[in-house]
């Protein structure tokens, strides 16, 4: 079971939901929690533990100037403007390189080989006996999030219950995280911003063929528009969490709602069962 938590809008409470769901389920099962918001990963803040960290690298080209005859084929081929061939030398801009390997293929002199370049890290920890946390972290200044997301998902590939937390938005990093999951929880808040972005996120899950349900977070009771949208689009509202300064304070200090107020665990267990029925699986 791969369950992904997404939202169009940022700051709606994805990580809060992911952390509390994983915490609750880890009491009785073996859970892998995967932080796919590699630009701003936060789950490790809720689960401090000793981590094992390794570099995530991408192969980037290295040009052997002794063999290169400056024919310019690599620069012509590169769609990202990462290589500029001058009459007597080659300029390479590593931050623009997408690591497609094309330059090595088109070089007639075989003057280009690839070497790994670090773009971020992957960390694994076991903060609770039933919980494995896998976090990706993009190095600051590095633009490419997707290869790290691919790697953290791969790290959990063989695990049985996987909960993935995504970045906000609807573009490539979010698609990479949602693709191949069995169900998606869309976390929203009932403001016009929340609703607008929920519509976009629901469009993504539909295109990817991943069944989705909704959580309304920080509800102030004025949820009619969101409820209407969900009814029209056949999206089940699986949980509504009210706004309260107390819940906000628990979250902001890095604690877990389900640890401080254990009565919430029942709600999160029920949420998980609703997610399972979204996938059509037997309960």
């Amino acid at each position: 079971m791969k369950l992904v938590i997404a939202s169009g809008k940022g700051g709606t409470g994805k990580s809060m939901v992911a952390a509390n769901l994983a915490f609750t389920l880890a009491e009785t099962g073996q859970i892998s929690l995967v932080d796919c918001d590699v630009e701003e990963p936060n789950l490790h803040l809720f689960f401090p533990a000793v981590t094992t960290t390794r570099d995530v690298t991408l192969p980037i080209p290295v040009i052997d100037e002794l063999i290169c005859d400056h024919c310019g084929k690599c620069g012509e081929f590169c769609r990202y403007g990462a290589i500029s061939v001058l009459p007597n030398r080659v300029l390479f801009f590593p931050d623009l390189c997408h690591s497609c390997g094309g330059c090595t293929l088109v070089c007639p002199k075989k003057a280009i080989h690839e070497e790994p370049k670090r773009i971020g890290t992957l960390s694994v920890s076991t903060p609770l006996p039933g919980l494995k946390l896998i976090s990706g972290m993009l190095d600051t200044g590095s633009p490419l999030a997707v290869p790290i997301i691919r790697e953290v998902k791969q790290e959990a590939a063989d695990d049985s219950i996987i909960i993935l937390d995504t970045a906000p938005g609807t573009s490539c990093p979010v698609v990479e995280a949602i693709e191949g999951c069995d169900a998606c929880i869309l976390v929203t808040e009932s403001t016009p911003f929340g609703l607008h972005d929920l519509e976009l996120a629901a469009d993504v899950t539909e295109r990817l063929g991943v069944p989705a349900g909704v959580i309304i977070n920080r509800s102030d009771g004025k949820d009619e528009e969101t409820i209407r949208f969900c009814a029209e689009h056949d999206l089940e509202i699986m949980l509504t969490i009210p706004f309260s300064r107390e819940i906000a304070a628990i979250q902001s200090r890095g604690d877990l709602l389900c640890r401080v107020q254990p009565e919430w665990q029942k709600e999160f267990r029920s949420l998980f069962n609703k997610c399972k029925s979204l996938t059509g699986a037997e309960l």
Partner: protein, 288 residues
């Protein structure tokens, strides 16, 4: 306006500043994944243009000999198999064109595709450029660049260019802050807010851009607000405003207007002070 962490109040502050800061103005909503600025600025559409993302690969099934070279060489897992046939998954294709090089049958070509649209509108205090990325598309960094370029081409002579940026630290964020004179980082008092603030500041530092910090909803966790203050002092970052939690903000968003146009409220007062201080800072920077 950037934030690292999402949902800290960038859009609300951008909208308010657009009616408070002096002079002619052009705004760009560079959170192209989930653009919300238009929802509180009541834009009147002037024009709309298609955004063509990078060309993507297309396999001609009549020419394809099903040899599998494209699948083997694609580093983005963008080649799918449907029975014997090979297909490009356009949402994964990054347009590198390696498949066109390795295909022995010349069955792959690179084709333009529309992955979004760019809107140019009149708003109360100037013009707004915003975009809509087709959900699930890539190239959001490229679209950010196109949105900023549209704003500069049409209103390059404006006194002020305000950009509502995306969350995160990756490609769209980098594209948003490049070339700007100043960055306002909006954070919130929480472990996540502080963690994400530090990361986005690290990116701003690489651009050597003048950077200001705003703590929104500061009273929800005074202890973390203090931690942010200490961090800003240590890093010599001007903490230019603290804005209290205020239900009037949500009411204003629901009414579709900036909170500063919604009557007197604690958040509105704080943002007015922010605008005054920012005005002075921008004059000092020599950009006003």
């Amino acid at each position: 306006m950037v934030s690292g962490k999402g949902g800290t109040g960038k859009t609300m502050i951008t909208a308010a500043l657009s009616s408070l800061l002096k002079g002619s103005l052009v705004l760009a909503d560079c959170d192209v994944d989930a653009a919300n600025l238009a929802l509180v600025l009541n834009p009147r559409r002037i024009r709309i243009d298609p955004f063509m993302g990078m060309k993507a690969a297309v396999i001609d099934p009549d020419l394809c000999t099903e040899c599998g070279e494209c699948l083997e060489h694609c580093r983005f897992n963008a080649v799918d198999r449907d029975g014997e046939a090979y297909l490009i998954n356009s949402s994964r294709c990054e347009g590198c064109a390696v498949c066109t090089v390795v295909c022995p049958a010349e069955a792959v070509s690179m084709q333009s595709r529309q992955t979004g649209e760019i809107m140019y509108s009149k708003v109360a205090h100037g013009h707004l450029v915003h975009a809509r990325l087709m959900p699930g598309s890539g190239n959001s960094g490229l679209l950010v660049h196109a949105v900023k370029k549209t704003a500069m081409e049409r209103d390059g002579d404006a006194d002020l260019f305000l950009v509502d940026g995306p969350p995160g630290t990756g490609c769209p964020l980098i594209s948003s802050i490049s070339g700007m004179n100043a960055v306002l980082v909006v954070t919130e008092p929480s472990v996540s807010g502080l963690h994400d603030l530090k990361r986005v500041i690290a990116v701003c530092r690489q651009f050597r851009t003048k950077t200001f910090v705003v703590v929104n909803r500061y009273d929800l966790d005074p202890a973390h607000t203090d931690e942010i203050k200490t961090y800003c002092q240590e890093e010599e970052l001007p903490l230019i405003a603290t804005i209290p939690f205020d239900p009037a903000v949500i009411d204003a968003v629901r009414a579709g207007i900036p909170v500063t146009d919604f009557g007197v409220s604690p958040a509105s007062q704080a943002i007015r002070l922010l605008a005054e201080d920012l005005e002075k800072e921008l004059i000092q920077l020599g950009t006003r």
